[in-house]
């Protein structure tokens, strides 16, 4: 029960500050934490990036191997996104096969890449119906201080942009950069009481009522969205987060 008492105290503290317009770490409600991106961090991956979003630390590796296309998309490469929320990154993560939070993370990042048409998948076709490039995007959390969705999205995009298709090694012609044509960026906000704040820390996440992740593309259009959490949002709150995501997504894109 101590856990709940602590959560209650923490929540009271956070809400009290928010009602004065202040976040625990001093940020504005619509301010994203500092971002650092190290591209090509892993030389055994075809593309990789390690992203710090505040204290949240995520590494993404992209591997490309030759395989078969799906029968309904015979002339397109295949995207497979996987997330491991390993217990190294947080005491709230468990060993074993990915649980529901890891699956949700992987699927939301996947949806951003896929629906945002980040990669020209037709250029990953080697021979229609026979051979295409299978693209594995593997997300590893190293340190969890909230908002894995956006950190993983940024790391995935950076890793994709740094990736080289290893065609030569596979005897399929010359190497070429992975054809990244769009850059969907997700921005996540949480609702705590009446307040909407972006890029939540761990403490903000665990006391939040609801979470909304919105991915936008360069045109400012929407490509993916995911609500989480047991709380609710009003239609107006949804639209507010959509606008925030569009504006801040463009900012993030310009930096990365």
């Amino acid at each position: 029960m101590s856990k709940d008492v602590m959560a209650d105290l923490k929540r009271d503290h956070i809400v009290k500050l928010l009602s004065k317009g202040v976040r625990v770490d001093g940020r504005k409600f619509d301010e994203i934490r500092p971002i650092t991106i190290e591209k090509n961090y892993i030389m055994s991956a075809e593309g990789s990036a390690r992203v710090h979003l505040g204290n949240t630390d995520v590494i993404v590796g992209v591997k490309l191997i030759v395989g078969q296309p799906f029968s309904d998309t015979p002339n397109k490469g295949v995207l497979t996104t996987n997330a491991e929320l390993i217990p190294l990154a947080s005491e709230t993560f468990e060993s074993g096969p990915p649980g529901r939070p890891a699956i949700e993370l992987a699927r939301v990042v996947d949806r951003g890449i896929r629906e945002g048409q980040a990669v020209d998948m037709e250029k990953l076709c080697i021979e229609p119906e026979k051979e295409v490039w299978i693209m594995f995007v593997d997300i590893h959390a190293l340190d969890y201080d909230g908002n894995l969705f956006d950190a993983a999205n940024m790391a995935a995009m950076a890793a994709l942009k740094s990736a080289i298709v290893p065609a030569k090694r596979a005897d399929k012609g010359e190497d070429f950069p992975l054809p990244v044509t769009h850059e969907p960026i997700s921005v996540t906000a949480v609702k705590i009481g009446e307040h909407i704040l972006v890029d939540p820390t761990y403490d903000e996440e665990i006391v939040a009522d609801a979470r909304l992740t919105v991915a936008t593309n360069e045109k400012g259009d929407l490509c993916a969205m995911q609500k989480g959490g047991e709380g609710s949002l009003t239609v107006d709150e949804v639209h507010k987060v959509v606008e925030l995501s569009k504006r801040l997504g463009a900012e993030v894109r310009s930096k990365t």
Binding site: D72, R100, I103, A106, Q117, N217, L222, C223, G228
Partner: protein, 256 residues
């Protein structure tokens, strides 16, 4: 979503603005719900929605296993969404896949919001959703059915959750995508909504939408949820108010 090209010669919207199954853009597929269809479960509901057939059952509140998952302050609402192997054209391997785990997670969160979980500390309320026949929109169908099953089980609830999706097809915003629309459409927005309090408890989106299109779509889904809510209440009313005639009068409510 995301660009499977429409087969030659197929149009999803005809010159009269009618959809491939003859519906208007804002028209729902036929929906019927029957509550209390299973003997063993605490509560249950059977739903047919277009060509979807979904069974939902609720057990509990009951002792929560394993014990370390118990919450001393409230009940856990644990949803298990599953598609049976023969519910789709290509046989699905039995057991949970990543998609069903994600749906189980967001459905659990949406239902938790409406259940008075604090009345039943340390317990589990288990919600089972079995998709017997799938034809686009099963997560909305499952949430809608589960909500009725919870009420049928006599679980104290703030209100019912109604659920419906809007989407974009050939650049037109439409309601409640059918199978072809789901396969070849441009965007999908599943929504879970509480009409009485105007709360959104489930929200996803994938595809490509301008912000205005999204606003339109969200509005259409919210309006449809109000109609679905009436069907849900009707099913419960029939279940509880005419027990004497139950044998003859098990016909299902239809969307007007």
């Amino acid at each position: 979503m995301g660009g499977t090209p429409l087969p030659e010669g197929i149009k999803l919207i005809d010159e009269n603005g009618k959809r491939i199954d003859g519906r208007r853009p804002d028209e729902l597929r036929p929906l019927s719900i029957e509550a209390g269809v299973l003997k063993r479960a605490t509560g249950s509901a059977y739903l047919e929605w277009g060509n979807n057939k979904v069974m939902a059952a609720v057990y509990g509140p009951r002792e929560c296993h394993p014990r370390h998952m118990q919450d001393p302050t409230r009940a856990l609402v644990q949803c298990h969404y599953n598609m049976v192997s023969f519910s789709v054209d290509d046989r699905k391997r039995p057991g949970p896949d990543r998609r069903s785990q994600e749906i189980s997670k967001i459905t659990s969160e949406a239902l938790t919001h409406v259940v008075f979980t604090e009345y039943f500390p340390r317990t589990s309320i288990d919600v089972y959703i079995e998709v017997l026949q799938a034809n686009a929109g099963t997560r909305c169908a499952g949430l809608t059915a589960a909500s009725v099953a919870l009420a049928d089980a006599g679980i104290p609830m703030r209100d019912l959750v109604a659920s419906c999706a809007a989407g974009k097809v050939e650049d037109t915003m439409v309601l409640d995508l059918g199978k072809e629309e789901d396969n070849f459409g441009q965007a999908d927005i599943p929504v879970g909504y509480i009409p009485r309090t105007n709360e959104i408890v489930l929200l996803q989106m994938d595809g490509d939408l301008t912000i205005d299109q999204f606003k339109t779509g969200l509005g259409m889904a919210v309006d449809a949820c109000k109609k679905i809510y009436d069907v849900q209440r009707d099913a419960l009313r029939r279940r509880y108010t005419v027990p004497a005639e139950a044998d003859e009068d098990t016909g299902s409510a239809e969307v007007k």
